[in-house]
């Protein structure tokens, strides 16, 4: 009898914690698997503000605009000449960096403009393909401009600018001016 009492006293009321780590591991693995750290990527654009009724849009010289048309089947016209999507990049680069040499292209990089016009039936991926090429032209021009100034690429240049707190001279020189034109009314 006395021995039984003694035994009871020795028993300790603890919850076994050896499996705690395993349980936590299971939960951890569940969250590791379900977590999707997906960064949203896309082509950034800034839309032009709404036009006031009585304000006329500023006059733009014809030669400073590179007109790109995309039709219903995704075919491309650059300055009324049939072209291909992969040729747009170089065309845009020569247009911007023309510096008034060729009368068909822009007068200066700061004045150059690229206009993309689609019809209402143009497939979206054709439009994105063209827009992508135009942006890539700008990216490559900014990169080469940054290399001319002695930086590795444009990203290091912007990082340096952010640190020093100066004006972004490259963007001042080569402005990304892409206009999305309204389709013609039928």
């Amino acid at each position: 009898m006395a021995g039984l009492l003694k035994k009871r006293k020795r028993e300790e009321g603890e919850i076994p914690t050896a499996s705690m780590a395993d349980i936590a591991f299971l939960l951890l693995i569940f969250f590791l698997v379900t977590t999707t750290i997906d960064v949203d990527t896309g082509i950034g654009m800034v839309l032009p503000p709404k036009l006031e009724e009585d304000v006329e849009p500023p006059p733009i010289k014809e030669r400073n605009v590179l007109k790109i048309l995309v039709n219903e089947t995704g075919q491309v016209l650059v300055e009324d000449q049939p072209s291909a999507i992969r040729l747009i990049r170089d065309e845009v680069k020569t247009h911007i960096m023309n510096e008034g040499v060729d009368p068909r292209y822009a007068e200066a990089a700061s004045k150059a403009l690229v206009s993309i016009k689609t019809s209402r039936e143009t497939p979206y991926d054709a439009y994105v393909g063209v827009l992508d090429e135009v942006w890539m032209a700008y990216f490559e021009l900014w990169d080469s401009e940054a290399r001319r100034l002695g930086y590795a690429d444009y990203a290091t240049y912007t990082a340096a600018i952010n640190e020093q707190g100066g004006e972004n001279a490259i963007r001042e020189k080569i402005k990304a001016a892409i206009s999305i034109a309204e389709p013609d009314k039928q």
Binding site: A21, V46, T122, Y124
Partner: protein
Amino acid sequence: MASSHFKKKTSTKQEIPTASLPDIIFMLLIFFMVTTVLRETTVQVRTMLPQAEALTKIDQKRLVTYVYIGPRKLDGTRLGETGVQIDDALVEDMGNVRTIMYRKLIEQPKLIVSLKVDQTSEMGIVLDVQQELREAGTLRINYSSKRELPM
């Protein structure tokens, strides 16, 4: 002298203390629980994003509002006509885009509108939405697209 020295060495425990292991794991667990974002909206249109090269990242997710444009998902795998979805509801009247976006802009002046548009959509509806965004004053947009796979 030598024997006592040896004895001392053998008496030291060679185990790594595992008492703090659950705590470490719980820390990791809590980190992942906090960073996990569960999708709060069901997308009712199909958005197969186009591929592009000139991509920029949107770091600040709380500034972003999504506009989904694509063919409506019907029962099964059938697809309906093109629809526009903002948050968790389809927008039937295009004029409503303006008011919805205007309200969002007041709440978050630095709003970025991410357009998740299906590849096969036509430009007409995209341009209509953009026109409404201009009216609302939400000018920063982003054509959501995937990274081009190397050939």
